[in-house]
């Protein structure tokens, strides 16, 4: 149980850190924050790479590859569109 407990500690503390860091976001940035956070959720790509890289069975490879494609769309598309949006937010 030791390892699982450490993981749980990290999960809870990171959630609290997230709450603290984002709590005061102005409405102007709601969409960019959401799509930027969305891109970060593509972190599943790490898992997909690990799984696919070491796959020695067909189904593992198929699922892992599907995971890489989906996560990469999420990561690349998410960060790019957020940047495109933020480029438009200007003060004059």
């Amino acid at each position: 149980m030791g390892e699982l407990l450490i993981l749980l500690y990290i999960f809870v503390l990171a959630t609290l850190a997230g709450r603290e860091v984002i709590s005061k976001v102005p409405p102007t940035l709601h969409t960019p924050l959401m799509s930027g956070a969305n891109a970060i959720s593509g972190i599943a790509i790490i898992g997909a790479l690990v799984v696919t890289g070491s796959a020695d069975e067909l189904w593992v490879k198929v699922l892992g590859t599907a995971g890489i494609v989906m996560a990469t769309i999420n990561v690349v598309g998410g960060f790019m569109v957020t940047d495109r949006m933020l480029q438009m937010f200007r003060k004059r």
């Binding site: 409405p27 959401m34 956070a37 799984v51 940047d83």
Partner: protein, 475 residues
């Protein structure tokens, strides 16, 4: 997770994620924040590739290139008005990726001939469940926003009971997979022995989770979409975090829970802006209550104006507040609106924008539209700030908004009672640009339209706005 260098790079990446998100919450630093977060992602990916024995580089590289190409093209060419559905579909892919990884881990554990420990079993089941719900739920949300699936709430008899039953069934199947003892006692019910159930039960879990995702989103109507989109955003983060538990990977847990927290905060903000609880949004199927909600419009007299008259009122005002709503996004009239505002400002009129938190189909939807039309963000005031100014505002121009300016919210009897609204009726004159008198999403009539100081300017927002540009120029 043994390699120390990899762990240290993951730590650096985690710090960059946190500080990047922090920067994303201030307009001046937001772009840098996004760049920092993408650097964090890149670092994590590179070190993962170096640390792990990649047996099949071709497959990995091909998958990354394909994903990057699809994502890049979507991000580059999507119209800003289609932003809500893009966010929804990206969300779905994030959730789908987490589910796929969990499923691959399940297959691999089975292939090794040994059942995974309870802790791994539970995390695999959870991660598959949350990921699959996020995936199918986001696809439905995408369909609704894109207009492929009806935007109206879809309900059927005993929906809640069915959902509850399905959820319980999913938990039972999940428990059978995660714990051999549960599996052994459930298996005979379907005529199998304990170890035999793993394949079919896992498939059943995936299918049930996918159906659950559809059923959770389908009863939710268009105007409640900001809540759903932010909630699904939160789910995709939690799905990634649970996948981190499966793989014992710290960076997945940290990045995933950051996203989970961000999504939850936005969800709470959206619920507060509608004065409704999350449960009410998820299970309420608002606006379908039938006869009581359907008020016949058009039986009371209204004052309507044409473009020329509206232009006169606007051009000779000292201050104008614009209140945009979903109708502006549908008509794609943001550029014409900006032209009208520029012309007014050239004449010395003070122009500002009052943006309701839930206007549109996702959090901050109006802000993105106006930013695209080149409106400076310091002219966009939020609810409290603009409400303090309506007393001294000459003209309010409402473009495609309805429920968020309905004074009925102050009436404790109303279905939208207590919802924070923009107090536009306090301004000297109100011009409402709208296609017809039809009620908004809440299905109730809007008293604002019948007030003495309200002028109705009927028509398609884009056509009328184009007319308005010409008339204001000549005024």
């Amino acid at each position: 997770m043994e390699n120390t260098i990899t762990q240290i790079v993951y730590l650096i990446s985690a710090v960059l994620f946190v500080s990047g998100i922090k920067q994303l919450s201030s307009p001046a630093t937001a772009r840098k924040g996004n760049a920092r977060a993408s650097l964090a992602m890149l670092l994590a990916i590179v070190v993962t590739l170096l640390d792990n024995q990649i047996l099949d580089w071709t497959t990995v590289a091909a998958a990354v290139v394909a994903g990057a190409a699809i994502g890049g093209v979507l991000a580059r060419y999507i119209q800003m008005t289609a932003m809500p559905q893009l966010v929804a579909i990206f969300n779905g892919f994030g959730g789908g990726a987490s589910a796929a990884v969990a499923a691959a881990e399940f297959v691999r554990a089975g292939a090794g001939g040994q059942s995974p420990g309870v802790d791994v079993g539970v995390t695999i089941v959870l991660s598959t469940l949350i990921g699959a719900v996020t995936f199918s739920g986001s696809l439905i949300a995408f369909g609704k926003l894109q207009g492929i699936v009806t935007g109206k709430p879809v309900t059927f008899p005993l929906q809640k009971s069915f959902n509850a039953l399905l959820f319980l069934l999913t938990l039972l199947v999940g428990a059978s997979l995660a714990h051999a003892a549960v599996g052994d006692s459930v298996a005979p019910l379907v005529g199998m022995s304990g170890p035999e159930i793993s394949g079919p039960f896992f498939l059943a879990l995936v299918v049930a989770a996918l159906i659950l995702g559809v059923l959770l989103v389908i009863p939710i109507g268009g105007a409640d979409m900001p809540v759903v989109v932010s909630l699904l955003n939160s789910y995709s983060g939690i799905a990634a975090a649970t996948t981190g538990f499966v793989l014992n990977n710290y960076i997945l847990i940290i990045a995933g829970s950051l996203v989970g927290a961000a999504g939850l905060i936005l969800t709470q903000l959206m619920c507060k802006a509608m004065n409704r609880s999350l449960g009410n949004v998820a299970f309420g199927a608002f606006g379908t209550e039938g006869p009581t909600a359907k008020v016949k419009a058009g039986q009371r007299p209204v004052r309507d104006v044409d473009a020329e008259q509206a232009a006169m009122v606007l051009a000779y005002a000292g201050s104008v507040a614009v209140v945009p709503g979903y109708g502006l996004a549908v008509a794609q009239a943001q550029h014409e609106l900006k032209k009208v505002c520029d012309l007014l400002e050239d004449r010395g009129v003070t122009v500002r924008f009052g943006v309701h938190p839930v206007a549109g189909r996702m959090p901050g939807h109006m802000n993105v539209l106006l930013a695209e039309a080149d409106v400076s963000y310091d002219k966009l005031l939020d609810l409290d700030d603009i409400n303090a100014e309506f007393d001294t505002t000459d003209v309010v121009l409402i473009v495609g908004a309805n429920d968020v300016v309905n004074p009925a919210a102050r009436d404790p009897e109303s279905v939208i009672a207590g919802m924070p609204i923009l107090d536009v009726d306090k301004a000297r004159t109100v011009i409402v640009m709208k296609r017809s008198l039809s009620p908004g999403f809440a299905g109730i009539d809007n008293d604002l339209f019948y007030m003495d100081n309200t002028l109705m300017f009927f028509g398609d927002a884009k056509d009328q706005m184009t007319e308005l540009v010409r008339e204001v120029r000549e005024a």
